[in-house]
Amino acid sequence: MARLSIQEKLAILSDAAKYDASCASSGSSKRHSRDGNSLGSTEGIGICHAYAPDGRCISLLKILMTNFCIYDCVYCINRVSSNVQRARFTVEEIVWLTVEFYRRNYIEGLFLSSGIIKSPDDTMADIVRIARILREEHGFKGYIHLKTIPDAAPELIEEAGRLADRISINVELPTDQSVAQLAPEKNPATIRSAMGHVRENIEASKEKTLVKKRRKKFAPAGQSTQLIVGADDSNDAAILDNSSRLYGNYKLRRVYYSAFSPIPDSSHILPLIKPPLIREHRLYQADWLMRFYGFSAPEISGVSDDGMLDLEVDPKLAWALANRHAFPVNVNRAGKQTLLRVPGFGTRTVGRILAVRRYRTVHYDDLVRMGANLRNAKPFIFVPDWSPGHMTDSENLRARFAPPAQQLQLL
């Protein structure tokens, strides 16, 4: 095989990385290089340096170290049984690309994952070495996200955590059965124990020691995971249940949902219909409701009989439509938790309502100014100068919001 140039490798190994949804670079500790001897900074909020025509933010150099892989996960373009062209970066090449891209202000940092070569430990050791050279030899203070291989030795995962801003371990699929079926070499129990281990390390790093000094940093931007939606037949109820367990048990910062995307040279086991992107979007909205609005997974997915989120209206509106007995809500009296459940009221709107209410009555126009989406909220609230009358219970309320039915796309 002819030697590939760095440009050819970059093409192959960014192609291979694009199915990972996460590109976040926010929420880490603050650092800078004003001392003149180092490079890079993180200031809390990550920056999107470009947007691809798929609408996704490009904030990190997101690449695979190699797309050679000894595993055979059917949904993955890199599985051993695929005929995709293979490439492998050297450790030095990745370090060089990261630093040079960073210096030109293309990126916030590096998001590195890899196919598994030789053994999980060998692969993980190389990943860690890249992060170590960046930090120690180049004084690199930009953002580093390392995708961790769950079967790798705990010492390696620990070192990864000390060097990186974020650690992620993908759970890949919503249920253990699906993992067994579609990612036969992966072991859900190992994945969970690795996540538990990372959680312990993160928590230990936050505890103050006796001398009141912070312990050594460990993944200050936390731990995340990704799962693929639509490659198996799990319904949204199962997915959200799984996420709520992940948030609860492993204190994950984020769960990413990636709509199964048709891949070149795909396996015949996979569904032929491309799941609508809107399903992924609804899952993110539902996820948001669980994290910031006090909804439980069963409440959200219990709205429908088949455990699937409504694709036509957002999950909060769907919940309100199914729970009309709880509405309309008195905006000037209702508690915070109740207000948060009103469609069209975001956390910020609710905060503003509570603030204003302390010294005067809230009227309809105030809500407009506070940024509420009144098209959605109107049927579910009353204020002194607005009452929905029988709108709340009207038969055709749903029709006001649902756009004309949309057909699934055939792949």
Binding site: E43, P53, I63, N83, T90
Partner: protein, 290 residues
């Protein structure tokens, strides 16, 4: 008496603040001041005006929120901004609560200007692209650390924000020397020191071979199965495209997306490479042992 105040770059905020302090100290009503920025023209009033009073010791306390508002608004390209900020200062002197009253037309106008400037700054931090000036010989795997490497960028923001964003770039690119040139202002960072001068024509920073690698990355990280052109354009408005090395590729990427998908669908399933069976057998053995 009409006072004429000229605010020159760099250091717009400091110069405006010093003048505003003196004028307020001398109780000069906003209507009696003509504020002029570098870009304003017309010498119409010069014959009837006087230079602003000097009151170096004047002390002035303002709410913190005013400072952050003024620091942003001063970067706006509206020539009226100096006078508007002074008018607000005049108002809040007797009624500090005015600052939070968005139903006041002046306050709400200034808030909008503040937002605009903030967004412009944010986009500048995102879309400045450095090119290396006189690069050292290309990659042999090690970085050349002997001297500070030099980079230059040309960026066209809507407002006077190069000075305001400079500390961000200094914190981020601490070990390099760089220039960021904009039509309004130019920032130099040399040996760890920031220096500002008024803007000008686009300097020639040459080309940078790494831009090709970045373009390669940009095209390949894009997933043609998820075209969302509107989402992209609202975040990366076309006005920035001309200085982004990757942007020229976008139309072609959009046009080619359908075709790439069609090919992917049409492709016959392939037979797994011979290696696959062997590797999988080894994996199974390992799993059984474990």
């Amino acid at each position: 008496m009409i006072y004429l105040v000229q605010i020159e770059q760099p250091g717009l905020f400091g110069k405006w603040r010093d003048n505003a302090r003196s004028l307020l100290g001398a109780d000069v009503h906003p209507d009696n001041i003509i504020w002029k920025g570098t870009s304003s023209t017309g010498e119409l009033f010069d014959s009837v005006t006087a230079p602003p009073p000097k009151m170096p010791d004047a002390e002035l306390r303002v709410p913190k929120a005013f400072l952050s508002l003024a620091n942003s608004v001063i970067c706006h390209n509206d020539p009226q901004r100096f006078g508007m900020l002074y008018a607000l200062l005049w108002k809040i002197r007797s009624a500090p609560a005015k600052l939070g009253d968005v139903s006041d037309p002046l306050v709400s106008q200034l808030r909008v200007m503040e937002k605009t400037v903030r967004r412009d700054c944010h986009k500048m931090k995102a879309f400045v692209r450095f090119r290396e000036i006189d690069p050292l010989p290309p990659c042999d795997g090690t970085e050349h650390n002997q001297t500070r490497r030099r980079f230059g960028a040309w960026f066209e923001p809507d407002h006077y924000i190069a000075e305001r964003t400079a500390p961000f770039f200094a914190r981020r690119f601490g070990d390099m020397d760089w220039i960021i040139a904009t039509p309004q202002q130019i920032v130099h960072f040399e040996g760890g020191k920031l220096r500002h001068e008024p803007g000008g024509e686009r300097p020639d920073f040459g080309t940078d071979a790494t831009d090709d690698l970045w373009r390669t990355y940009f095209t390949h990280i894009f997933n043609p199965a998820r075209l969302k052109v509107k989402a992209m354009q609202s975040e990366m408005p076309k006005k920035y495209w001309k200085n982004l090395p990757e942007a020229a590729l976008i139309p072609g990427m959009i046009a080619g997306a359908e075709e790439r998908l069609r090919k992917m669908r049409a492709a016959e399933p392939t037979v797994a490479p011979a290696r696959a069976a062997k590797v999988k057998a080894i994996n199974r053995q390992r799993a059984d042992k474990a």
